[in-house]
Symmetry: C2
Subunit: 570 residues, 2 copies
């Protein structure tokens, strides 16, 4: 492709409303343009990367035995009513009515449609297993679309759905998808972790998220430094490392802490460390119950673990009014001693002797407090957020922590949808059995954005070769110099003939401006054709990653570049 004939306009300025790097760079590099909040056009350069990710996905899905189909984007409400999601799904579901006033939604995901297809087409266990996938535009009316393709409203997704006669079948299907996902993100050239994820409200039995590692990632994940364990912090287990409760050495005493309410303020005022304090959270469940949860002062509550323990959907901090009513003091001074409320504590609290906590009186804390002697709890459990340095729950290793961007999700659904839609097949005994389902998603645009979050520098994008929109950029220093122009065009054609995807920068622009654009759009290999080099029969190759420069003999340039590209794709 000749730059002069292409639609590729770069921006010098960073658009004001782009907060994260990938969004800024995709706009500046002319990959995407906003049409409305969370709705983008993929310009030619951006679409090329999208298509490369799609192709890798397709190849690996086919290799794993999944079969491609294509469902509609506009879905009749009746299917969603059958599954119950028409009511359950909130405002993210884009609802619309046709000219006959029939209700539809724009598919944010396609469990209902695929289950409907399979219940109509598949009658016998002999037609199973089946894994059906599509790559398609989806729509979710996000309350706060942001970060470009990272959290858009209209977005491209690969969604696959597996159907089996039993749980063992699902296990096999799930493992195949898990491995296919590993290959997909490896082939995209990305550093990622597959982490155990919470199954949330869907209530499936297992789930993994595929996280591209990037400092800007919205998700926190932990992984073991010696075994394969990795999990979203939402889900990451913390091993109970309290061998035996320590013996108290101090009497309990009251200490004045005037207006010191936070853990940090109290620790500073009492000249101790937050780890010596116990934090008492007064919480309210969505069922209206109040309870207290104790954590070591420097720890964070993991609400998902707590909800799971309590069997509720949500917990939140109790109102100030409630705190005063149940503790007798304003918030900041709650403590377990003498508290007539259900009390749960994180395991770690059982390993703390002589700690400091609130006294349930304004401006007062207790010191030398000990669990067992001074108060008791209903249960000790794993209730805190895992952090770097925690022991691995599976081996003797230590956890490391990362930020990640979720690009894929595999999920054992079980019978949630087959039950709601009564999707059954006959088993080998002639009995009707509910289909056992799994679902498997990849955000295609988000994968490209995540790749950019992971691969860039201050000058622009550094595309991994497998998803680069072009593999080689040939820059004419001066297109009006006949020899330069001819040599560059020759190289361009020779590379095209070898099947290399090459962009020829033949624009009549200053070389500096071309090099800036080259850095910005991040093509992995850049060849500069200039008059000086040509005199010596050589072209300069610069790698976008690392910036290493080498001279290529003119006659061998096409061959050497082709080899470099091929190697990078292995």
């Amino acid at each position: 492709m000749r730059y002069s004939e292409y639609l590729l306009s770069t921006l010098k300025e960073t658009p004001a409303d782009a907060e994260i790097t990938s969004h800024q760079l995709m706009l500046r590099a002319g990959m995407i343009r906003k049409v409305a909040a969370g709705i983008y056009s993929y310009l030619p350069l951006g679409l090329r990367s999208i298509r490369k990710v799609e192709r890798i996905i397709r190849e690996e899905m086919e290799r794993a035995g999944a079969i491609e189909l294509l469902m509609p984007m506009v879905i009749p409400a009746e299917l969603w009513e059958e599954s119950g999601r028409w009511e359950q799904y909130g405002k993210e579901l884009m609802r619309l009515k046709d000219r006959k006033d029939t209700s539809f939604c724009l598919g944010p995901t396609h469990e209902e449609v695929i289950t409907d297809i399979v219940r109509r087409e598949v009658r016998s266990y002999r037609q199973l297993p089946l894994n059906l996938y599509q790559i398609q535009g989806k729509f979710r009316d996000e309350i706060r679309p942001r970060f470009g393709l990272m959290r858009g409203r209209e977005f491209i997704m690969k969604d696959a759905y597996s159907f089996d006669i039993d749980e063992q079948g699902l296990d096999v299907a799930y493992e195949k998808m898990y491995q296919a996902y590993r290959r997909i993100f490896e082939r995209c050239g990305l550093k990622f972790r597959a982490v155990e994820a919470d199954t949330g409200n869907i209530g499936g039995t297992a789930s993994h998220e595929f996280m591209v590692l990037a400092d800007s990632g919205e998700d926190a994940i932990v992984s073991c430094d010696s075994c394969q364990y990795a999990a979203n912090v939402e889900k990451a287990e913390v091993r109970n490392s309290v061998a035996s409760p320590p013996a108290p050495t101090l009497e309990m005493s009251r200490v004045l802490t005037p207006a010191r309410k936070t853990i940090e303020e109290v620790a500073l005022f009492l000249e101790t460390a937050p780890e010596r304090l116990v934090k008492t959270l007064i919480l309210q469940t969505d069922g209206g119950e109040h309870l207290a949860v104790l954590l070591r002062g420097d720890r964070e509550l993991n609400e998902i673990k707590l909800c799971r323990l309590l069997g509720c959907n949500e917990v939140e901090l109790a109102s100030e009014e409630t705190v005063i009513r149940v503790t007798g003091a304003p918030s900041g001074f709650a403590g377990p001693v003498g508290l007539s409320l259900r009390i749960l504590a994180d395991h770690e609290v059982a390993g703390m002797a002589d700690f400091i906590c609130g006294a349930n009186e304004k401006d007062l804390h207790l010191a030398g407090v000990n669990l067992g002697r001074d108060f008791s709890v209903e249960a000790l459990a794993d209730l805190r957020q895992a952090v770097a340095g925690d022991p691995c729950p599976r081996c003797a290793g230590k956890l490391e922590s990362w930020r990640g961007i979720e690009v894929g999700h595999v999920f054992k659904l079980g019978t949630k949808y087959s039950k709601a839609l009564n999707a059954t097949v006959l088993d080998d005994q002639g009995q009707e059995r509910l289909l056992i389902m799994g679902c498997y998603g990849i955000g295609v645009g988000r994968t490209v954005a995540a790749a950019i979050e992971q691969n860039h520098d201050e000058n622009g994008i550094i595309f991994p070769m497998p998803i680069a929109p072009f593999q080689v950029l040939v820059t004419m220093v001066n297109p009006n110099d006949e020899a330069v122009n001819a040599a560059a065009v020759d190289l361009y054609r020779a590379l095209q003939d070898s099947g290399i995807e090459v962009l020829l920068d033949d624009r009549d622009e200053r070389p500096g401006s071309k090099f800036k654009d080259a850095d910005l759009i991040g093509i992995p290999l850049r060849v500069t054709v200039g008059a000086r080099g040509l005199k010596e029969g050589a072209l300069e190759l610069q790698e976008r990653r690392g910036g290493e420069r080498t001279m290529l003999p003119l006659a061998e340039a096409a061959g050497l570049l082709t080899e470099r590209v091929r190697k990078a794709l292995l």
Copy 2:
């Protein structure tokens, strides 16, 4: 692909609501399934054909220098308000509102979005010409979706838009697309005509439709038997072949025609031919004007030609009340003699001497009527529908008539959208100039449906090789026969290794049922692996088209089949 592992369930019965052959066969062959009126899922077999058409389109678009991008399906109303179409477009435009009550539509076409992109990205004539295309799901809320993919609501379309600095540029872009479209439909293996089409309300300067020829086609087209002329009958010109008006030979006389109102009734009653009569149509324009139009008795009015002559948008037959008021008689007896109304006549009327027409009195006609002597007209013009046998308007040939299915449309838009959206670039004088646009569409699903309308027999589909979902079907007569099974699997693998797309029918079904399915799904080449043939070291090849059977030596089968496929794709 093994049939036993595929999602492919055929139907023995023709679904009741499928009216035309392609719709019936696509349902029966398991290519598509209805999700709602005019909304379909593409099952794996159907999607394979869709993707093949898409690939051919993509290759030819790239060859013609068009650049792919992807615009959103959900489009903000403000862009459509800018173009004026938010008001103009009727209920076919699917409108919706997001959670913030902002209005959007589902794109039925993307002139606004692409014009918005280009006005933002392109500043100079040096960035032109530009032709941008996408392949995408579109939505039109058709009042009566029908015929499966032929007139669906959600459908896949390739839409391209060209941008030039002047009309000459548009001419070049248009010609490139015209030639690309010819290659696309040729490569799909279809018999088609590119016909001149009416530019309708859009008011462009030229337009061609690409029509796949099929008896069931909704459109009537004519083409010359000796030159390249072809046109939609809506647009087809009729050459004026009246050399000089004939001389009257009869006096005008009144003839009783009691209760004979139609041309056929009058001709029969007076024992003459409809060609000897003149038909007088009393019409009303959308501007409220009344006029009379004269045609030879056996001809049909072409309303589009009349509207163009009158400069109006619509004409319709005047009400009975109006007919009585302006002619003095009920409808069926109108005639030009003594009529005080604006009268236009088709050229042909000027060549008729001594004809019969209504007398503007109930139950009465006039005979021996002659234009010029007995009445006059305001103008003679080409006002009738062209029919087979008419002289070609361009050469000495004769017109033939066909039925066709519109699968593609190329259109010179001019400045309609660039003007509305103020999309300008600087020309070489530094002056702002409106972009000159063209638009170019192909219905992808409709192309597959049209291919089936054109290529089928009573047993099922007969796919042209280039768009067949699979190229070869290998049928095991009895999969439980080890030798048969092994030979079939060997052939299957050998074909796959040669890059042939092969479906292996390894189902444990009766051979008769497999052959029926084979005919239905229409794979071009079918190889039967049976015990009897194997003993003789041979396999039977049957061509779906024509049904010719040949025996292939086992050892050479893969090679011969590969060669056959390759030849069919040239």
